[in-house]
Amino acid sequence: MERSDRQASTHPPRRHGGIAILAGTALVSIAVLLLLMRTSPTVKAYASGRVAVLAGTSGTVSTLACYDLPSPSRPHPLLGSSYNDPFPPCNMTDSNPHDGVTGPHLGTFSAPTDIQASSGSGVIVQLDYLPNDSNGVAGGYAIAYEQRTGCGSYDPTSAYWNGRKVEVDITHYNRLSQQLNGQSIMYEHVNPDNSVVGTNSGNATWFRWNNAYAYQMLWPPYAQQLLFNNTGLGGWSIATVAQPKSGAKDVGCSTGAHLHQDATSGEYNHSQWWSTSGGGTYATARVSDMQYVTMSGIIGTAPSNQ
């Protein structure tokens, strides 16, 4: 009797206890799920966005070398439809790619630009408008190496010295360490700093860079070598502006100290470099937007030229 009493008295609490344990387990599972949702990083992918390549040195913009006039034509962004936009997007693969007003001027990539600067001025790589949010660019790798061309192959002792041509490649990663995209920038008429610039891509060194304002940077402080997206500060010093010799013009190369820079898929920041008086305006190294580059996989915030 005592035994059956005990059985009778203990069964109901066991049932309640089982329900409670089940409910508790369910709650714990939900809590774990919620925690996982909060801690597992996910990022959104975007179709494309625009970032800016900033001026590599300070000086007056003397040439926007690829005008593509008269086609495509579109209204001037400042002066309205009575005037043609002098700097529509430059497409290096179109049928008339190098018809600059001041004469043909070949660029390797798009939107080639000249900035007049004193020889010896620093050439610094810097970007802007990289997306900083949790879906944006955390950082990446950058590499610099020389490219061989005719004008860029004269020796500094030659009467035709024209400086060297340096390609910079920058890859972008999100905070999951996934590569999003990459871009190339070409700098010409420079004295490369061969402690950071390789003589070809095979012997050049990759450098680690962080987005200065990223929601989460890619590299820990001890591994960070460069900071991009940090207007006016940081950047990557790769060269100085060369002093081409006057003889360079005898062979068809350019003369006078200046930095030529162009970028992949680049467009001019035409609204800034067009002066209504007809002259070029002053660009500041690491501050002024020189080219706008459309890149896949991010939502860049550079202003639109449209």
Binding site: S9, T10, P12, H16, A20, G24, I30, L34, R38, G103, P104, H105, L106, T108, S134, A138, G139, Y145, Q147, R148, T149, G150, C151, S153, Y154, D155, T157, S158, A159, Y160, E167, D169, T171, Y173, L176, S177, Q179, Q183, S184, N200, S201, G202, W206, Q216, M217, L218, W219, P220, P221, Q243, S246, G247, K249, G252, C253, S254, T255, G256, A257, T264
Partner: protein, 192 residues
């Protein structure tokens, strides 16, 4: 005993309901604040687990297309360039190397290898290897690692198109337009 079990059931019920309420409040407040916990200082915490540096071959552009920077970058129109063409002193050796590998480097073997030949070769490779993502995986030193026409082209390009005119002079003993340098230096003139 019955009373005791009722108390126990009630206590368990209170714990479960209390837990659910607490979780609800926690979930509500955390979503209201919309502030995820601060992320760690960097995505990469240990360099041994860091993403490897990208693969980059200078004869394949960042978009995955075969690419050689044009040799003649003078600020002249096409007619002026055609009237006085420039030749990279390494082109003949590059052409011989590519021909040995089975590529038709020159359209007209009686003529010097030119920019036109190089552009045609690059265009042919881009037709033959349209998979840009696969091309991006070709290493910086592709020699011996890539087969087919792409392997021949990259091997020859890496051997010859990275050489300076000075290196070509030192290899062949033949002077070229760039080396030995003409040193009658004149004074600089304003930028064009």
């Amino acid at each position: 005993m019955r009373t005791r079990s009722k108390y126990l059931s009630a206590a368990l019920g209170i714990v479960v309901v209390g837990g659910a309420v607490a979780m609800g409040v926690w979930a509500l407040t955390s979503s209201k604040a919309d502030q995820p916990p601060p992320p760690p200082a960097a995505a990469v915490t240990d360099l041994t687990n860091a993403p490897a540096p990208p693969i980059r071959n200078q004869f394949i552009d960042i978009t995955g297309r075969f690419f050689v920077v044009p040799w003649d970058d003078r600020e002249l129109g096409p007619e002026q360039k055609a009237a006085n063409p420039w030749y990279n002193p390494a082109w003949e050796q590059f052409s011989e190397c590519a021909t040995k590998g089975g590529l038709q480097a020159k359209l007209d073997p009686s003529k010097k290898f030119s920019q036109v030949d190089l552009d045609r070769l690059v265009a042919q490779l881009n037709r033959e290897y349209p998979d840009a993502e696969a091309n991006k995986q070709i290493p910086a030193q592709a020699t011996g690692k890539v087969r087919g026409d792409a392997g021949v082209f990259l091997t020859c390009a890496e051997e010859w198109l990275t050489k300076t005119p000075r290196q070509m002079y030192e290899l062949t003993g033949v002077p070229n337009q760039w080396w030995p340098p003409t040193t009658d230096v004149a004074s600089p003139s304003p930028a064009r």
